[in-house]
């Protein structure tokens, strides 16, 4: 088949259960694969890594002429990106809040136990709805300072926003985009209102930290606060759900590794790293060059939509030995699961803690568990790929 239809075939829902043969085709045709719509696909590890670090590559959709409001820092370039990311990082991680993520370990473990309360042998559970979804949502709500009872409403807004950002080449995006914009406005207003309630009455959460920052030079504007909080809410759970679910699915498909892990629980952090390589939650990121850029002899003109297929880079045999093998003991596992460069995943440390906690607690239950359906039904999204449901018979 023609390589200029690869993006359409990758994003086709039929490819969702197993996009990896298409990624292999992409790497074969690569490293720069022109698509019929003018975009460029990149699927080889070293080229993706180089472009992720290249300061000439823009993450801002306005760089290819798209007219939109100023996006959140995930899709901004330096120096704006740096300012907002740094301000968001202050209450979240080092150097200003070095213990924040670690301090959540106990709470994450408690939540995990709570969610597994109904897990008993012989029962059928949905790993997504009963476990992998509520865990990170609850964690990110606590972290931001969102009351648990408002979570379903946030969820609805979040779904609309994620759908608006999805790549579906064969579909008219007008209605999805409109719904996304509406959700953006409503969710932003809600979060600003919530943060305002904390002004002068801080509770130990990030919204409180944002509005009670004493240094005026380090404060977010209301709009920035809304956008940052929306970004943290969505990025803080959309991905982790998939990481945990993909983890359970992968371990059930590799009983020998599950057994290995049971014998050597210390392997858990490396299992999570290997999952981030082998079945990463984020498959695709887009960048736009600010100048004509040469990639191994091919010039990508400025303004081109460059689609970096991170999950393909993770399976590049030029970088990883036997890349299609799930091997937690793999040395030198510098995967692209968290991206790279200035946009390297902000929440990576939290995602690791959540996934390690969740999988560690589930392992005893997976002994006799079996998949009800393999492959499971997948979510629509090709960029944030993961099962919609994962029914397991315990």
């Amino acid at each position: 088949m023609d390589s200029d239809t690869l993006l359409a075939r990758i994003t086709d829902y039929a490819s969702r259960p197993d996009p990896y043969p298409l990624y292999a085709e992409l790497r074969e045709a690569g490293p720069v694969v022109r698509q019929a719509d003018g975009s460029c696909l990149i699927g080889t590890y070293h080229e993706i890594a180089a472009l992720l670090h290249d300061p000439r590559m823009s993450a801002d959709p306005r760089s290819r002429g798209e007219t939109t409001r100023k996006p959140p820092f995930l899709r901004l370039d330096d120096p704006e990106h740096h300012r907002l990311r740094t301000l968001a990082m202050r209450p979240f991680g080092p150097p200003h809040s070095p213990g924040r993520v670690d301090a959540m370990r106990g709470e994450i473990a408690r939540l995990t136990e709570e969610l597994m309360g109904s897990f008993t042998a012989g029962r059928q559970v949905d790993i997504v709805d009963d476990f992998a979804y509520p865990l990170p949502v609850t964690v990110i709500c606590r972290l931001l300072g969102v009351p648990r009872q408002d979570e379903p409403q946030l969820q609805e807004w979040s779904n609309a926003l994620v759908a608006a950002a999805d790549v579906r080449p064969d579909e008219d995006p007008t209605e999805r985009v409109r719904a996304g914009q509406q959700a953006q406005i409503e969710m932003g207003a809600y979060l600003i209102d919530l943060a305002e309630q904390r002004r002068g009455h801080p509770t130990d959460d990030m919204l409180s930290a944002f509005v009670n920052e004493p240094d005026p030079a380090l404060r977010l504007t209301q709009e920035e606060l809304a956008q940052t909080a929306i970004l943290l809410f969505i990025a803080g759970h959309e991905t982790t759900v998939n990481l945990i679910t993909n983890g359970v699915l992968t371990l059930l498909r590799h009983p020998e590794q599950l057994d290995h892990l049971r014998r050597e629980p210390d392997l858990l952090p490396r299992v999570v790293e290997e999952l981030l390589r082998y079945e990463p939650p984020v498959h695709i990121r887009e960048r736009i060059p600010h100048a004509d850029i040469d990639v191994t002899g091919t010039t990508i003109p400025r303004g081109t939509s460059v689609v970096l297929v991170l999950a393909s880079g993770n399976r590049d045999p030029m970088r990883f030995h036997e890349p299609d093998r799930f091997d937690p003991t793999r040395p030198d596992n510098e995967h692209l699961g968290f991206g790279g460069g200035i946009h390297l995943c902000f929440g990576g440390p939290l995602a690791r803690v959540e996934a390690q906690s969740a999988l560690g607690a589930l392992i005893p239950y997976l002994d006799t568990a079996r998949l009800v359906e393999d492959p499971p039904p997948y979510r629509q999204n090709a960029m944030l790929r993961g099962p919609r449901h994962l029914s397991v018979h315990l």
């Binding site: 180089a50 300061p55 000439r56 120096p79």
Partner: protein
């Protein structure tokens, strides 16, 4: 046919980062013979970067910086013992306790020590310190915790600047005396050194540049009380840290016939030591701070790097080549990288900034205190230094690796206005890095151009 390389007896002299990593790598590479590691300090291998940072800030105790072992190298550790000689004929390392260790292959990883204050009487004053070892860091941290009135730091290279930064963070008064026009100028050149000076001044450092310390003063009871400077001024202080760089630990090799001199032990790209005639040895290897090796990206000059990453990378290459035959041997081609944290800034360097004639600020700005400075030599990129912009380093490393044209291409969103205007890098002439071919070859000073070694016994 080369199976015997995996067996036999290997001695590693030096039990620090390079020594430990080489020992681990030898086992990973399948070495099954006996392994002896000699170290002159009583401590097992420990990490040095925290000594001038967390330890001085009292955020970590000096005895907690031990290096984790990635695997047990199954070595016979001889700690607290100093090697005093290497006999290439009898293939033995001689120790100061009279023992002599036979070897089939030996790795020299003796590193460096702090350059002492040149006047021994003044250096012996109570309150005068150098900072290189764990014990030195421990003593210095204790004195800082006791709350001295003023600390004098002599030398504003990376170590001196980090010490000054730690003092200020602890609220201590500190004077820094630097011979050059600004801190870090020898390593990073004029433009960044001006930023370094501003950083120090903004943090309340009493910075004296363009001066040397002519004498350290005591109170008559052997306690340090202050120093005289070359501009005629005097600094009253009760603690002094001499940060004048490092001396390579090569004296023990004086009679070995190796190309070992004040600038280090010369070796080829495969970490094999040269003898003093410039002939490569087969069984003597070198790694870490004590080595000097040719690097193709920097004119094949004999580089000597006091970098954490170089010690690790070179140790791994040396270990590989010690147990593999010629056709399977690897070169040490790692791009130099180092970092420093001081005055709240994260400074990272890739390449060799001193191997340059011009620089540009490619991203960010001095005003923003966040920038990427790119160094070029004869029209290609040879180094980059970032200040609070470490995530850009990989990009510049790639430009260095591929000998990309200098200045780097436009297009960065945060590209500086001045990015197209190269200015002189204001570093010592790169041609001088190796100090001429004669010395490069033998490592000895020119007046010792040839020495005849007589086999004994």
């Amino acid at each position: 046919m080369f199976g015997d390389l995996k067996d036999g007896h290997i001695v590693i002299v030096g039990a620090s980062l390079a020594g430990l990593r080489a020992a681990e790598a030898l086992r990973t590479e399948g070495f099954t013979g006996s392994l002896t590691v000699v170290g002159d300090e009583p401590h097992p291998p420990y990490d040095r970067p925290p000594l001038s940072k967390q330890v001085l800030l009292d955020k970590a105790a000096a005895d907690t910086t031990g290096l984790p072992m990635r695997r047990d190298p199954g070595a016979d550790w001889r700690l607290g013992v100093r090697a005093t000689g290497l006999d290439p004929f009898k293939k033995r390392v001689v120790l100061d306790n009279g023992e002599s260790l036979p070897f089939d292959r030996v790795l020299i990883a003796t590193g460096t020590r702090a350059r002492p204050w040149p006047n021994p009487d003044e250096a012996a004053l109570d309150g005068v310190f150098t900072l290189r070892t764990r014990d030195e860091a421990e003593s210095l941290a204790e004195r800082l915790a006791a709350g001295p009135q003023r600390v004098l730091v002599i030398g504003a290279g990376f170590t001196g600047s980090e010490i000054a930064s730690a003092c200020r963070e602890r609220g201590l008064e500190v004077t820094v005396a630097e011979r050059g026009p600004a801190p870090l100028v020898g390593a990073l050149g004029g433009t960044l050194s001006r930023l370094a000076a501003v950083m120090q001044l903004n943090h309340g450092v009493d910075l004296r540049c363009g001066v040397t310390v002519t004498a350290l003063r005591g109170d008559g009871n052997g306690r340090f009380t202050g120093a005289d400077l070359s501009d005629g001024s005097r600094v009253d202080a009760d603690l002094c840290v001499v940060a004048l760089g490092a001396v390579r630990n090569v004296e023990w090799l004086a009679e070995s016939g190796l190309a070992a001199g004040p600038r280090g032990v010369a070796c080829d790209a495969g970490c094999r030591a040269f003898n003093m005639y410039g002939i490569v040895t087969d069984d003597v290897f070198v790694a870490g701070d004590v080595s000097r090796f040719p690097h193709p990206l920097f004119g094949y000059q004999m580089l000597s790097l006091e970098h954490w990453g170089n010690a690790v990378a070179q140790a791994e290459v040396a270990a590989h080549n010690m147990v593999n035959p010629g056709p399977l041997q690897r070169p040490h081609l790692a791009i130099p990288i180092f970092w420093s944290t001081q005055f709240g800034f994260n400074i990272k360097s890739v390449g060799v900034p001193t191997y340059s004639d011009h620089v540009v600020i490619a991203q960010g700005s001095l005003e923003a205190r966040r920038l990427a400075m790119v160094y070029g030599y004869e029209g290609r990129v040879t180094a980059a230094v970032t200040v609070d912009m470490a995530k850009s380093l990989d990009y510049y490393r790639y430009l260095i690796e591929t000998a990309a044209p200098f200045p780097p291409p436009p297009g960065a969103a945060d590209r500086a206005i001045a990015a197209d205007v190269p200015i002189p890098s204001d570093v010592p002439d790169p041609k001088g890095l190796s100090h001429g071919p004669t010395v490069a070859l033998t490592g000895y000073l020119p007046d010792r151009r040839l020495t005849v070694v007589q086999p004994t016994g």
